[in-house]
Structure formats: structure tokens, C-alpha cells
């Protein structure tokens, strides 16, 4: 559907061009010297060909269906005055611009490109630097944000904005973007049916990707590295998370993924590597975790508060300092047929499944939850002895928290 | 050659030497005698620097030995109990000691003399007590030095080896004027045969010093062994 609409826009542009649309060149030596005046004289479905050069403009309003095409990345310098481009019309394409110096404000969210109540937009090949907000979609549906590069230099959360923000927007495709150095790489609020694929979101202050009150979204094959936390999914339903990589999100409150009040999500085939906490789960129910890799995390999964009927199956837990941590004695979640590198059991009947159940929660993880400094005793012989005795007769850890069918070999 | 002044030594609660003075001039064979536990071995070990005295001064070759080690180059020592690293072969042990001392040695004759040839490639752990003692003697005598200290050299030796040992000691004495030999032994016959002078230790001090004839005179005994026994009983009675 989305692809179809995109195609439609494209066809319309092409046909518009051949039938009645014209191309207006903008450059320092052209008759049209500024983008604003170009938009003014253009008719609907015209193309503005912006030649190489620097255009010191801001508050550019696009109020008719136009294509703004940059030739060799012309620079639009907002000189920190405020918003730079506002799209307030359907069927607008922005392609190949280099936009810098968006104004910073504590009262309004200035963006490099803001789309307001418009449909069928396409924003691609845009490079944004020195920005506040990057691409801001506001109540705009059926659009595409493709292959853009957003490089921020945010230092503090309170005076920085998000790279790509969707607010009350539906059916938008966010694909192959690179976002770094902003507050949230990609932020969704009240936005449903969004597809987020193949993006690389790194070094952001808060989250690589952030969902709030957004349902039925899917994100696949993205990479989240070294953010405050990789992905935060909060108060949302039916989110699909497939094949993403969460890496090196280090710090006291750093997670590969944070799930808070999430229901009915599917988390398949993701890789969580070297995060302080792979997945931090709070009050989330009916989530399927399957075929994920948890590699060398501090805690692969940390479960806080009430989480019911979650299923963890066919995952690989490899060399994590702690596999699972619980803060309660209750367990209503199922662990089945996972591979645990810490498993020391045997498989006498050679069916590939260990004959002794694996208990992924160690007593030591309780002690560390209670007294964090004890982390320095990790892997000491004394702790191993204590953990062993707890394993033999569980006192502090949930009795039924075990993987009855631990795999002997890695899956996938 | 050796000056010892006011030597005190205590092993935990056991006071072994209590202000011992001894002056041994150049040349001659001195037998250090005394009952068990009288401090003979301790005295020798202090002279060698193996035991450190609590109080008192020791000079060897006219120089104080405290914290020194080079003077041992000039001393040959035959320890009381012949214990060796058990992993080594006899040949290796000899080579090692030569390597450590870096002095000219004449072990060939000595090996011949004590018939050690067949044992050269045997491990020291497999040797009998007597054979070990022979190796011990070879190690002590193969270097040429002005001071010789022999602690119970006769232990475990068969008669022919004992004769060879006595000859060796005599030869050492004649080889060069001014060679000094200290020897301890419980075999009085051996002492009588080799010693020029007797130093008798008792309760951590020198109780008697002089020649064998002086000793016999003093104890009014005609037999050396009895004379020695007499000093011992005299003191225990007194």
C-alpha cells in the first residue's frame, strides 16, 4: 500500500513534468536567486532545481505540491534563526539538500524539515547538521523518509531535539537513514502502522529509537549502538521487532532495549551484544521472544515488576555476566529450548536437549540488586559456591523459573 | 685465622653458645669436641655464615664476616649430614659446584681414590649413606683453600675410605705451611690420630683448650677416650 502510494506520487510527478510542469533553476547567477522566490513563482508539480551554493534562508514554506531537488548538495543555512523548511501541502518531495544551523528554542520545536498535516511526502538524500529537531512529521500520513543522514552535536538532553520525529502520523516508512548525536534518534508518539527498516542510530543521548503510545509498528534490521539506551518501547501494543542489532549501550541506566507497559509484541531474531542490560522489562505481557542472540551483556534480561505470560524460546544466551535477573519470587513466564552458554548439564540420550533443567537466575544477581557494590565479587570462587548451593536448593530464586529443555548447541 | 669473641646464640629457648671466645691461629689441625648439643656444629656454622649469631663478633682471615660471603671462597666445608638434591647425578653435582665456585679443582684423583667412578652417572637419591659421604668428601677436598672445616667427616665410611680420609687430611696439612683444619668427630681414635689441638666445648663456652697430652695430664687419664669422658663426667658431677 505504502509502496503503491509512493509509486503514485512518482508517476504524478513524471506525468506532471511531461504534461505541464516545468523546472525552475535556483542559483546565485540565475534569475531566481532564492528558494523562497522560486516557490513563489512555481506552479503545482513544478520542480525547483537548486544549484550548488549556499542559501541563507529560513521559514521556507512549501504550500503547493513541489519537488525541491538539490544539485550537488546545495547548502541551506538557517543561521540559527528557527525552522528551515515547512511542508504544508500534499505530494511534496525534498531530495539532495544539505541543511545546517537550525535554531534552538526552549518554547518551540524548530526542525530542519517539518511536515504538517500533509500526505504523500518524500524526504530523501538529505543531510542535516547542527540541528535542533531534524525531520518532524506532524499529523502527516503515507509518506517516506528515505536515505537521509542526520548528524547532531547534542550535549544535554534538555536543549536538544530528536533526529526523526513522528507525531500522530500513520503509514510512514522510515528507511536507510543514519541518525547520530541527537536526543532520540527516531521518536514515535501516537503513530501507528509505521515501518522502520535498515536505519543506523548511534551515539544518541537518550534512545536510538523511542515508541510512546504507538501501536502496530514494525522495525527490522536496524542497528542501535552506543546510545543512552538502544530502543525504548513504552505504552505501546503489537510492535514487531525483527533482526535488529543492539550494541554497546553502556552505563548505569543503559539498555539494549527497554520495554515498559508493552503488550503482545514479537521480538524475533535480534542481537543484543555488550549492553549493560540487554532487555529491561517492566510490566509487559504476552511477548514472544524467539531466536534472539544475547551476547556478552551484563544482564541479558532484567525483569522488574509484574510481567505475565511472556515466552522465551530458541534464544541464544552467550557469555552474559548474568542471564536473567528477577526482583520477585513469582514467575509466570516460560523459558523453553534456549541455549545457555553457562549450562553445565549433560545430554545422555543425545537428543540435543540437556537432561537437567537450567536455572538462569543466580542468587548473586539478587545480591547485586540489593547491594550493587558486590558486583566486584563477580566470578569469584565464593560466589560460585553460593550460586551452586542455591542451584541445588532454591531459596531466594523463583522455584519454577527454569528452562526444562536447555539446548546443547546454539540455535540458528 | 679465625677470631671469635663473645659469641652468643640461642635457638628459640635453647641457649647454645654463651659468650664463646676462640682464637685459632694459622696452621694445624684443631678438633672441636664436646657432648651432644654443646654447640660444635653451631660454632662451625657461625664461622661459615650459615647461622647468624645473636651477639659477638667473628673474623675470618682478619676480616669480620658479617653480611659477607666472598670469604667462603677460601673455605672448604664438609657438612655433617650429606644431603644433596636428589634429582642430580653425581657428575652433575660436581660440575655444578665447580661452576659455582669457579676455582681450579682436582676431583679426578679424589674420585679415583674413593672408587666413585661407577657412581658418577647415578642419581644422588639412589646412593647409600657411605657413598654419599664419599661424594661429600670429594666435593670438600677438590678445591685448594687455606681453611678446611670438617663436620663429622667419618660418618658412614668403610675402613679403607677412612684411611684414605686420614691420608687426605695429613696431605692437606703437609702440602702447605699454615693450612688450618677444623674438625669435629665422635670417633676419639680418629681425633687422636689427626688432631694437634683439642677445643672442648661445654655449655656454650670453651671448657678446655690444648694438646692431647695436656688434656691427659689435666684429667690424669692415660687414655684419650677416657680423658674426654672424664671432663664430661667431671662437669656433670660438679
Amino acid at each position: 500500500m505504502k509502496h503503491l502510494s509512493g509509486l503514485l506520487v512518482f508517476l504524478m510527478l513524471i506525468s506532471g513534468h511531461t504534461l505541464s510542469a516545468k523546472t525552475i533553476s535556483v542559483c546565485a547567477s540565475c534569475s531566481v536567486k532564492s528558494i523562497k522566490s522560486g516557490i513563489e513563482i512555481a506552479d503545482a508539480f513544478d520542480t525547483l532545481l537548486i544549484k550548488k551554493g549556499t542559501y541563507k534562508e529560513f521559514n521556507i514554506l512549501i504550500n503547493k505540491p513541489l519537488t525541491l531537488l538539490g544539485d550537488k548538495f546545495p547548502v541551506i543555512d538557517g543561521e540559527d534563526q528557527g525552522e528551515i523548511i515547512r511542508i504544508a501541502s500534499d505530494n511534496v518531495t525534498i531530495d539532495g539538500l544539505f541543511i545546517i544551523n537550525v535554531g534552538t528554542s526552549y518554547t518551540s520545536d524548530y526542525a530542519a524539515i517539518r511536515v504538517v498535516k500533509s500526505e504523500n511526502f518524500l524526504i530523501q538524500n538529505v543531510v542535516l547538521e547542527k540541528l535542533f529537531f531534524g525531520i518532524y512529521l506532524e499529523k502527516s500520513n503515507n509518506g517516506r523518509v528515505y536515505h537521509n543522514k542526520i548528524i547532531g552535536d547534542a550535549v544535554d538532553e534538555y536543549n536538544s531535539g530528536n533526529g526523526i520525529q513522528l507525531w500522530y502520523s500513520k503509514n510512514v516508512e522510515v528507511d536507510r537513514n543514519i541518525v547520530q548525536g541527537v536526543r532520540d534518534g527516531i521518536y514515535l508518539e501516537f503513530s501507528d502502522n509505521i515501518t522502520i527498516n535498515n536505519n543506523i542510530s548511534t551515539n544518541n543521548l537518550r534512545y536510538g529509537l523511542h515508541f510512546m503510545f504507538s501501536n502496530d509498528d514494525i522495525y527490522t534490521n536496524n542497528t542501535f549502538e552506543n546510545n543512552g539506551a538502544g530502543v525504548a518501547v513504552m505504552f505501546s501494543k503489537r510492535i514487531k521487532m525483527v533482526g535488529n542489532t543492539f550494541k554497546k549501550n553502556w552505563g548505569a541506566a543503559a539498555f539494549g532495549m527497554l520495554l515498559k507497559e508493552i503488550n503482545d509484541a514479537e521480538i524475533y531474531g535480534n542481537t543484543f551484544e555488550e549492553n549493560t542490560i540487554g532487555i529491561n522489562i517492566e510490566g509487559s505481557n504476552r511477548i514472544q521472544y524467539k531466536n534472539n542472540n544475547f551476547i556478552k551483556n551484563g544482564w541479558a534480561i532484567k525483569v522488574l515488576g509484574a510481567c505475565y505470560t511472556n515466552t522465551f524460546s530458541k534464544n541464544n544466551f552467550l557469555y552474559n555476566s548474568f542471564d536473567i535477573s528477577y526482583n520477585s519470587k513469582l514467575n509466570d513466564n516460560v523459558f523453553d529450548q534456549n541455549y545457555w552458554s553457562n549450562y553445565t548439564g549433560y545430554d545422555l540420550d543425545k537428543n540435543g536437549i540437556g537432561d537437567v533443567p537450567y536455572r538462569p537466575v543466580k542468587l548473586f544477581s539478587y545480591i547485586v540488586n540489593r547491594t550493587p557494590e558486590t558486583i566486584v565479587l563477580l566470578r569469584s570462587l565464593f560466589m560460585d559456591i553460593i550460586d551452586f548451593s542455591e542451584k541445588v536448593s532454591p531459596v531466594f530464586t523463583p522455584d519454577n523459573l527454569l528452562d526444562a529443555n536447555p539446548l546443547m548447541k546454539r540455535t540458528i | 685465622m679465625i677470631q671469635v669473641q663473645g659469641l652468643h646464640k640461642k635457638f628459640s629457648k635453647n641457649q647454645v653458645l654463651t659468650g664463646l671466645d676462640l682464637d685459632i691461629e694459622n696452621g694445624g689441625i684443631f678438633a672441636i669436641l664436646g657432648p651432644n648439643g654443646s654447640g660444635k656444629t653451631t660454632l662451625i656454622k657461625i664461622i661459615l655464615g650459615m647461622v647468624i649469631a645473636d651477639k659477638g663478633a667473628v673474623s675470618v682471615f682478619g676480616k669480620p664476616i658479617k653480611n659477607k660471603w666472598k670469604y667462603r671462597q677460601e673455605i672448604k666445608y664438609l657438612p655433617q649430614i650429606a644431603n644433596f638434591p636428589s634429582n642430580l647425578r653425581v657428575r652433575e653435582l660436581i660440575r655444578m659446584i665447580k661452576d659455582l665456585r669457579q676455582q681450579t679443582s682436582e676431583e679426578e684423583q679424589l674420585i679415583e681414590l674413593f672408587g666413585l667412578k661407577p657412581f658418577l652417572d647415578k642419581k644422588l637419591a639412589t646412593l647409600s649413606g657411605g657413598t654419599k659421604q664419599k661424594v661429600n668428601i670429594v666435593l670438600a677436598f677438590m678445591f685448594d683453600s687455606p681453611l678446611l672445616i670438617l663436620d663429622e667427616p667419618t660418618t658412614g665410611l668403610d675402613p679403607s675410605a677412612l684411611i684414605s680420609l686420614k691420608e687426605l687430611i695429613q696431605k692437606e696439612k703437609e702440602k702447605e705451611k699454615g693450612k688450618t683444619i677444623l674438625v669435629t668427630s665422635h670417633i676419639m681414635q680418629f681425633v687422636e690420630e689427626v688432631a694437634d689441638e683439642i677445643v672442648y666445648l661445654l655449655e656454650g663456652k670453651i671448657y678446655f683448650r690444648g694438646s692431647i697430652s695436656e688434656l691427659m695430664e689435666k684429667t690424669t687419664q692415660t687414655d684419650f677416650e677416657h680423658a674426654i669422658a672424664a671432663i664430661a663426667t667431671k662437669t656433670t658431677n660438679a
Binding site: 553502556w250 552505563g251 548505569a252 543503559a254 555488550e274 549492553n275 549493560t276 542490560i277 556478552k296 551483556n297 551484563g298 544482564w299 552467550l318 557469555y319 555476566s321 548474568f322 552458554s341 545480591i367 540489593r370 547491594t371 550493587p372 557494590e373 558486590t374 558486583i375 566486584v376 565479587l377 563477580l378 566470578r379 569469584s380 570462587l381 565464593f382 560466589m383 560460585d384 559456591i385 | 656454622k45 661459615l48 655464615g49 650459615m50 647461622v51 647468624i52 653480611n67 660471603w69 666472598k70 670469604y71 667462603r72 671462597q73 673455605i75 666445608y77 657438612p79 644431603n83 644433596f84 638434591p85 636428589s86 634429582n87 642430580l88 655444578m96 659446584i97 661452576d99 659455582l100 665456585r101
Partner: protein
């Protein structure tokens, strides 16, 4: 000293135990790598072995060698040799042969496995360096205990006790004090307590590589500074060197005063 080292070293190279130790590590390395086919897991298992077994073997071997070579020592003492060089030589002989057994025993299987192509090479070399340090430290501690105790049985007892204390009991007391005083800021204390035990120190050094993600989860500023920067690595290595030097220094000091 080098001569004594040479002879002690040869002596040990000839002894059955060096080979047992070497073969043990060789077998361990092969079993871990070729039966498991998982280098990362092998490195983690090795860490446990190195933290527990290397100090134990260093201690027992050190005490054993000291008592066994008593005759050798006495023979040497009568030679024109410096006392400190006799003991240092013997100590280094033992420590070097143990270290060599460890490094070769583990190194050969890992080399054959093609470790250089793997990215755990740094973790592995850190393991070996730590193992070498632990050998040096615990052999020195063992020599210290042996030189202070004429009685062989007593010496052995104290040595095993020292190992048990540093390997297990210390951490138990450490954990208890952390839990009892949990209301207080404890990060400086816990780092200091770690520094005072060479086993904990080595463990920390390895944790810096293996579990850095978990270590960074704690909020304390001192921890962050220690684990988050190179400072931790540098301090830990300096402390390990200090831990090696101190017992060796005491050994030299004691050897000057001892009677034989």
C-alpha cells in the same frame, strides 16, 4: 643468582611435577577448545581455573620445593654465594618453571586452534599475564611461609590455609561486610578490599575485559572512573607488581636473618 636460577630451573625441569603441571594445562586447553569448539567459553572456563588453581599450585609447589631443596640450599650456603641470590635464584627457578608450564601448556593448544585469527587474543593474553603474576605472587608467599616454618607439616598447613583464605574466605568476609554496611557509600571500600587480595585483583583485571558491560551498570562515581577508563587497568597491574615485589622483598629480608 642466575646460576642458582639455572640449576633450580634445570632441577625442576627434570622433576615429574613440572610435567604433570604442564600436561594438565595442555590437556585442559585441548579439551576446552577441541571438545567445545567455543573460544569465548573456553576463555571463561580458563579464567575460573586460573583464579583458583594457579594460586593453589603455586603455593603447594613453592612450599614443596622449598622443603625438598633444603639440602641443596645448605650445600649452597657453604659456597661463596650471597644469601639473597641463593633464595631469589631458587624462587625464580620455581616461579619461572611454573609460569613456563602454564604459558606453554595453555598457549600450544590455543595456537594450534588458530587463536591469532580470533578476536579473543587480547583476553587470552591477559589471562596468561594474570596467571603468570599469580604464580609469581603465590610462589613468593609460599617461600615466605616455608622460610618462617622449620616444620614441614606446619608450613604446608599454613600455605594451604593462606590459599584458602585468599581464594574463598576473604571474599566471604568481603561480601558480608558489604551487605552489613550497605547503607554507606561502599565503592571506594570495595575497590580497596579488592586491591588487598591478589586473587581478587587478578579477577578484577579479567572482569575488566569479560564483564565490562555489567561493571558499568553501577552508578558510583569511583567505580565509573575505575572501570570506565584505563585507570582501572593501570592501577590493577601496578598493584599486582607491588604484590609480587613485597613478598619477594620479605623473602630476601628473612633469608638474611635465618639460621641453617
Amino acid at each position: 643468582m642466575l646460576k642458582i636460577l639455572k640449576y633450580s630451573f634445570y632441577d625442576l625441569m627434570r622433576s615429574r611435577w613440572s610435567y604433570v603441571y604442564f600436561l594438565f594445562y595442555l590437556a585442559l586447553g585441548f579439551v576446552l577448545l577441541f571438545l567445545n569448539n567455543d573460544v569465548s567459553k573456553a576463555v571463561i572456563t580458563l579464567m575460573n581455573v586460573i583464579i583458583v588453581l594457579v594460586p593453589l599450585i603455586g603455593t603447594i609447589f613453592g612450599v614443596m620445593y622449598y622443603y625438598d631443596s633444603k639440602e641443596f640450599t645448605e650445600l649452597l650456603l657453604a659456597q661463596p654465594l650471597k644469601r639473597s641470590s641463593i633464595f631469589l635464584g631458587q624462587y625464580l627457578g620455581v616461579a619461572c618453571s611454573l609460569t613456563l608450564s602454564l604459558v606453554l601448556g595453555l598457549g600450544i593448544p590455543f595456537l594450534l586452534y588458530g587463536l591469532f585469527k580470533s578476536d579473543v587474543i587480547f583476553d587470552f593474553s591477559l589471562l596468561l599475564v594474570t596467571g603468570a603474576f599469580l604464580t609469581l605472587i603465590f610462589t613468593a608467599i609460599a617461600f615466605n611461609i616455608a622460610i618462617s616454618n622449620e616444620n614441614k607439616i606446619k608450613g604446608f598447613g599454613y600455605a594451604v590455609l593462606a590459599w584458602l583464605f585468599l581464594a574463598v574466605i576473604y571474599d566471604g568476609l568481603f561480601l558480608m561486610s558489604l551487605i552489613i554496611f550497605e547503607e554507606y557509600p561502599l565503592d571506594s571500600f570495595s575497590l580497596a578490599a579488592t586491591m588487598l587480595n591478589p586473587i581478587d585483583l587478578s579477577r578484577t583485571l579479567i572482569l575488566l575485559k569479560l564483564d565490562i558491560s555489567a561493571l558499568l551498570g553501577y552508578t558510583g562515581a569511583v567505580f565509573k572512573q575505575f572501570f570506565g577508563t584505563n585507570q582501572g587497568l593501570i592501577i590493577a597491574i601496578l598493584m599486582l607488581i607491588l604484590w609480587t615485589v613485597l613478598p619477594v622483598w620479605r623473602l630476601v629480608y628473612k633469608s638474611k636473618k635465618k639460621d641453617f
